[in-house]
Symmetry: C2
Subunit: 369 residues, 2 copies
Amino acid sequence: MTSEESFTEPEVNPSHPPATPRTSHPVTMREVAEGAGVSVATVSLVVNNKKDARIGAGTRKRVLDTIRELGYRPNALAKNLVSGSSRFIGLVADAIATTPFAGQIIHGAQDEAWKHGFVLLVANTEGNEPAEKDAISMMLEHKVRGILYSTWFHRPAEIPTALHETDFVLVNCFSPDSDALAVVPDEVHGGREATDILVRKGHRRIAFINATIPAPAKDGRLQGYREALESAGIAFDPNLVFDAFPDQEGGYGAVEELLKRDVTAVFCYNDRMAMGLYDGLKQRGLSIPEDMAVVGFDNQEVIAAHMRPPLSTVALPHYELGAAGVRLLLGVDEPAGGNVVKIECPPVERDSVGTNILTGPQLRWSSTT
Amino acid sequence: MTSEESFTEPEVNPSHPPATPRTSHPVTMREVAEGAGVSVATVSLVVNNKKDARIGAGTRKRVLDTIRELGYRPNALAKNLVSGSSRFIGLVADAIATTPFAGQIIHGAQDEAWKHGFVLLVANTEGNEPAEKDAISMMLEHKVRGILYSTWFHRPAEIPTALHETDFVLVNCFSPDSDALAVVPDEVHGGREATDILVRKGHRRIAFINATIPAPAKDGRLQGYREALESAGIAFDPNLVFDAFPDQEGGYGAVEELLKRDVTAVFCYNDRMAMGLYDGLKQRGLSIPEDMAVVGFDNQEVIAAHMRPPLSTVALPHYELGAAGVRLLLGVDEPAGGNVVKIECPPVERDSVGTNILTGPQLRWSSTT
DNA sequence: TCAATCTGCTAAAACGCTTGATCAAAAATG
DNA sequence: CATTTTTGATCAAGCGTTTTAGCAGATTGA
């Protein structure tokens, strides 16, 4: 919808192919009306099953039959035009595909939108400014009900000005200096959950390998880690926390540092890091979880569920982020307290954390923990 | 768009929220016309920069200024209505998120659609029949230019009847008993490429661990493997081909069988299998690629690029699939020969295949191969 | 100088649908 | 039986555009 359609760049005209429809003319309401021997108004009333419309049983049937016979389909475009607003929700993403994550956001948004009778209009911008502007323009021109502006990783974001022309909510990002509605994962809670998995199994000396790069996740997860330790009455030892690049290589490289620290368990900033860590650990003949219990973060399905042993981790709630975004946009959910709603990161326990190291394989964690 | 909107189920009426637009009235063309002291027709001509319209420079400027001033945006709904067809392309997917793959299809389709001035309308059906029907209905009602029907793994598919009401192309799937347009990965070519990576490095005894489950990929990759061997003058040894479940566990479990076969290299049905295989190999103290060269298939980014060593593999061209689907739909590409167009699977060489085992590290493969 | 042509712009019909106002006939009421 | 109410359905205006036909005035040609 860049050029021909828009008055912003009248000079460009890359002659898009005409949006030629199929050959045969689509059946209209008028044709149905004629076929059934009634007025279009009547057809409309029947089609929409208007509650307070008075249509005789016979007429109704005749109309319905004709509809079936002719294969009539309402024209949503016309419908939208008269109603003044469409049933579209726009989703603009900075990376639709770079990561499986974005997919889940789309998925959640799509499902939820659908549930409320809305349809998703997607656009990805690859983080590129003009593309973003075009995408938003196009959505505004289609009179979307609102726009979900999403990023593929949790971060602060600048709000494109055009967004203000409609309702919008930020998904997986937030605006530090505005009170825009936003949905983000609850990193602190996630960090707590991850650490708790370990704590519940009796671990006391738990390392946390944080990311080297600044992000809300970095601060949040660390805080969660600290909170979990505190609730468990374990003193925070800054020496057990260090940074590594948040990918496989980083995890692999962190093993040496980790082993210096004499811990029984480690909480990795993310699953990829854990994956690399596995390699390093195994290479040294150490086994998981016996020699080292490991938990990750993100629950990247392809990885986490299929490592050896399968990785305990905490899930980034991307699906929920998308869904909650839509609910917020439509006003189905009220943003309880503040304009940023945080979605919990549920723990996903697999086998990289063994049985309770204190009580052994028999007992599950006691109720006193 | 299930109920209220559709005459199919007049009884249901779950009172969707009204599609209430923002508060302030959007600026229309009429208002611009009044503001600029011209007719709507003139505004229209200016906005669309109609080539053969005769508009005075002064008037044009006045209109443009008013547009800017008022913040006018064309209403795509109205535009579409009069033109009789929208600039939407529908994408219905059976799994938008279960896999990172689907994301790439969307991405490719989106980019390509955009390039031609079209917008993507997405719906995921989770393979569920009624959802699929609803999705297609909704798209037809929005008078989409056409529909891309995509599956998350390459397979035969049944064409929902409603699809025939518009132009459509199958993406990543095909219809065995119809001449519907389809775009699929070229599995045979992929199998050949994968095997060639190994052959080029001098490997002669190359195992192929195929999938246990039937699929076009299973047959195609095997054929590609055989073709590659043949071109290299290597006799096909059925004993070097066996099956395993196509995931990490399957790969891990296949190691024993593999080692019985006295091969120097193995081509795994997919990356996940290769990932498990790595584990099994390492556990036995074998190293990659020295003791065993490995190539995978799929190029699952999260996995392949970050294993130790990084995995050589062949990429499933999901992005291209989506893009080619759109081109086919719009008639930009002609389906050369047959109704199923096959997209190549490009090899991605990383480190799981070493240097030439015959000539050593110095020489690259000679031109005589 | 008068017709022919061109220039700049507008009127108005359409696109397919919704909906409030109407209206005739049938049914209920007194 | 006359009047009111209800029932069943239609009229027509309008949603925001595009586009064809056309009109007045200016310019040109002969």
